[in-house]
């Protein structure tokens, strides 16, 4: 329903807004950060899987990488498992680090999934922390649990109710036929007994 992957891919290209203040000739760590929502559907009270990928495309390891995502307000989301604020001591050159968090929305409606912020030291002797912003998964619509249930549940109870409701229409003629049949058979039996007595 919500193709987050395409949005993410586009966002990944324009990701890592590294606001560099240092000279470019010094070897630096550069981080590409992507934030993805790996869901087919966004459903109230169901899991939403958020994946963060940090990739170091620079020439030196990134040190003290702090990832913070404050895009999920407490009144609208509960964390099922995982931490939204984490730290990696070191991300080597060319290394890919993934982090996953499972959250669940408490309400339904439109929600804008915003970017996470990453702070790191781009080289061993850099003083100022480097800031990077992850890709934005974008806007998505969280459907209510009732709506989801209506579409995707097996509806067993509904069909059972339907079967019970349609039962009289099937059983009533059968019972009537059965009564008349047994009555007729009784008469036939009595007649036969009479014949045999005579």
């Amino acid at each position: 329903m919500y193709s987050f992957k395409s949005i993410v891919l586009i966002a990944l290209i324009c990701t890592s807004l590294c606001i560099s203040s240092q000279s470019s000739d010094e070897p630096q760590a550069r981080l590409l950060v992507s934030k993805q929502v790996l869901n087919k559907l966004l459903v109230q009270d169901s899991d939403i899987l958020v994946k963060y990928t940090i990739y170091n495309v620079g020439s030196v390891p990134a040190i003290n990488v702090i990832l913070q995502d404050s895009g999920f307000p407490d009144e609208a989301f509960a964390t099922v498992k995982g931490n939204l604020n984490i730290q990696f001591t070191r991300i080597p050159v060319g290394a890919n680090v993934t982090h996953a968090v499972v959250i669940k929305p408490l309400t339904y409606g439109r929600f804008n999934f915003s970017a996470a912020v990453v702070q790191y030291k781009s080289s061993e002797n850099s003083v100022e922390p480097q800031l990077a912003i992850s890709s934005e998964p974008g806007e998505g619509y969280i459907i209510s649990y009732a709506e989801y249930d209506k579409k995707f549940s097996p509806h067993l109870l509904d069909w059972f109710a339907f079967a019970i409701m349609s039962l009289p229409a099937v059983v009533a003629p059968f019972v009537m036929w059965w009564i008349s049949k047994s009555k007729y058979e009784l008469i036939l039996k009595q007649k036969r007994e009479k014949v045999s007595k005579d």
Binding site: L38, S46, K81, G82, T89, A100, L156, W159
Partner: protein, 169 residues
């Protein structure tokens, strides 16, 4: 002879001291709390999340995990708290228990060296091991309920029709 015994005494003492020290450094008590995503109707990938908390004075600065030959760097999630997470395809993910071996910095160094040389990693003892259970994914109902209801009604119709033709003949 006396000298020898003294030497061996010293040796035994240092050995026991070393053993004590190694147990002291490995005295951290770890507990693992895990979660896996199982609703394939909603989520597209199976996520394995293990939250590790350590109970000791000087917990390791970094923690590393090894799961089925894969190395995962644990994220630091506050003092004495770590998180190990990895993702897998719903089709590829095996149902059952996944053994997660946790290593500190020195263990991880040895592990990487052994893996690089293509040797067995069973010699390196992890600081803690835990299982993450993945019960398998829910991919929806086997048979559509509408389909099942249609089949049931057709069977009923067939039974009634054959019964009727039997009576009539």
């Amino acid at each position: 002879m006396k000298m020898m015994t003294r030497h061996s005494c010293v040796l035994v003492f240092t050995l026991s001291l070393y053993a004590l020290m190694s147990t002291a450094s490995a005295s951290c008590k770890y507990s693992v709390d895990s979660y896996t995503t199982t609703d394939a109707m909603v989520v597209t990938e199976a996520a394995f999340i293990a939250q590790v908390s350590a109970e000791c004075e000087d917990s390791p600065a970094n923690l590393y995990a090894e799961v089925e030959g894969k190395l995962v760097v644990a994220a630091n999630a506050g003092p004495n708290k770590y998180q190990v997470s990895w993702l897998d395809d719903f089709k590829k993910a095996r149902r059952g228990d996944y053994l997660v071996n946790l290593y500190d910095e020195s263990g991880y160094g040895q592990l990487r060296k052994l893996l690089r040389d293509g040797e067995s990693i069973s010699g390196v003892t992890p600081v803690h091991s835990a299982y993450v259970r993945y019960p398998g994914a829910y991919k929806g109902v086997w048979v559509n309920s509408e389909f099942l209801a249609a089949i049931v009604s057709f069977v009923l119709l067939y039974v009634a029709y054959t019964f009727k033709s039997k009576i009539v003949s």
